[in-house]
C-alpha cells in the first residue's frame, strides 16, 4: 500500500501518462484537455453569436467523460491514497516560499495562502486565480493546446508547432515564477 500512497516516481508517472495518450490513440482519439474548455463554452449555446463556438462539440463528448473520470480519480487519490510525506520539496524551494509568505506543503498539494477557503475573503487572491485562469484559457486556445495537447501529444508526434508552443510555455512560466510572482507576494 505504501508504494501507492507515497509520491509516485517520475518514471512510472510519465510512462503511465504516455500510455494514457496511446490508449486514446487506440480509441481513435487525441489526448488534449483544453479543448474541453471550448466544449464548455459551446454548451451554453454561445455558438449562435460567436462562430468559433459553433461546432460539433457533441463529437467531443468522450473528452468530457475523460474529464469526469479524472475528477473522480483526483477525489479518490486525494482522499484515499495520500500520505503526509507527499510533496516533499527541495528545502531551498521551501525556504524561498516561506520568505514569500507562502506556507510549505506538509503533505498538501496546494498552499492555503493561494487556495485555502479564506481566499474567498481576499479580493487580491480571487483576482489572481481568475486572471491566471483567463491566461490559461486564452493562451491554450490561441496556441491550440495545453500541456497534454502540445507537450505530450504533439511532441510525441514530433510536431514543430508543438515545440514552439512548449518553448512559449516555458518562457511564460519562467517570467512568471522568477519576476512576476515575487512582485505579487
Amino acid at each position: 500500500m505504501e508504494c501507492i500512497t507515497h509520491t509516485w516516481h517520475w518514471a512510472i508517472s510519465g510512462f503511465l501518462i504516455g500510455m494514457i495518450m496511446l490508449t486514446l490513440n487506440y480509441f481513435g482519439k487525441v489526448f488534449g484537455m483544453s479543448s474541453n474548455l471550448r466544449s464548455l463554452c459551446s454548451m451554453t449555446g454561445i455558438g449562435k453569436k460567436v462562430s468559433f463556438f459553433d461546432w460539433d462539440w457533441k463529437s467531443q463528448r468522450w473528452n468530457l467523460v475523460v474529464v469526469l473520470g479524472a475528477m473522480i480519480g483526483g477525489y479518490v487519490a486525494v482522499h484515499f491514497l495520500s500520505h503526509t510525506s507527499n510533496v516533499s520539496l527541495n528545502p531551498k524551494t521551501i525556504e524561498q516560499l516561506t520568505s514569500m509568505g507562502i506556507d510549505s506543503p506538509n503533505g498538501k498539494l496546494l498552499p492555503d495562502t493561494l487556495f485555502g477557503n479564506e481566499i474567498f475573503h481576499s479580493a487580491k487572491m480571487i483576482f489572481i486565480l481568475i486572471i491566471g485562469g483567463i491566461l490559461i484559457g486564452f493562451g491554450s486556445r490561441y496556441a491550440g493546446g495545453c500541456t497534454s495537447g502540445h507537450a505530450i501529444s504533439g511532441m510525441s508526434n514530433l510536431q514543430l508547432p508543438s515545440l514552439k508552443a512548449v518553448i512559449g510555455f516555458f518562457i511564460g512560466g519562467l517570467v512568471m515564477a522568477h519576476f512576476i510572482l515575487p512582485l505579487i507576494f
Binding site: 500510455m19 474548455l37 480519480g73 510533496v87 485562469g133 522568477h178
Partner: protein, 137 residues
C-alpha cells in the same frame, strides 16, 4: 456502454496526475525554479513513451478499436499563435500552478477555490473565440 472506457481512462489519469503530484502548485513552482527534476522527468518520460508508441503505430500501420487506420493529425503550421499563445499560457500555468487537466482534477478532489481558475479559463477561452479573427496566427 461506449463511454465507460473513457471514464476509466479519465479515472486513471486523475489518479496518476495526483499521485505524480503534477497537479500540485508547489511542484510547478519548483519546476520553474529548476530546483527539482521531478516534473521534467515526468514530462520527458511521457514524451519518450508516446514517441515510441506513435512510431510503432505508424510503422506497423496499426488500426484503432473500430478497425480504422490510426491517423494522428499534424498540428497546423504557424508561428505567432504558438509563440504568443504558448507564452500567455505559461504565464497562467506558473501563476496558479495548474494547467487544464489538473484544474478539473483538483476541482473534483474538492479544492473549491480552483473553481475560480476554471471560471477564468472558460472566460479566457470565450475571449479567444471573440477575438480570434483579429489575432495573428
Amino acid at each position: 456502454m461506449n463511454l465507460i472506457k473513457y471514464l476509466i481512462i479519465g479515472f486513471v489519469f486523475g489518479i496518476v496526475l495526483t499521485k505524480a503530484e503534477a497537479v500540485s502548485w508547489y511542484r510547478i513552482y519548483e519546476m520553474f525554479q529548476f530546483q527539482s527534476f521531478h516534473m521534467y522527468g515526468i514530462i520527458m518520460t511521457a514524451i519518450a513513451t508516446g514517441l515510441i508508441g506513435v512510431q510503432i503505430i505508424k510503422r506497423n500501420k496499426l488500426k484503432d478499436i473500430d478497425g480504422n487506420l490510426i491517423c494522428i493529425q499534424d498540428k497546423e503550421k504557424g508561428n505567432a499563435r504558438y509563440w504568443i499563445g504558448g507564452t500567455l499560457f505559461g504565464l497562467g500555468w506558473a501563476m496558479v500552478g495548474a494547467c487544464p487537466g489538473p484544474i478539473f482534477i483538483l476541482l473534483g478532489s474538492g479544492f473549491l477555490s480552483v473553481g475560480l481558475i476554471l471560471i477564468g479559463a472558460v472566460f479566457g477561452t470565450f475571449l479567444y473565440g471573440v477575438f480570434k479573427d483579429k489575432l495573428p496566427h
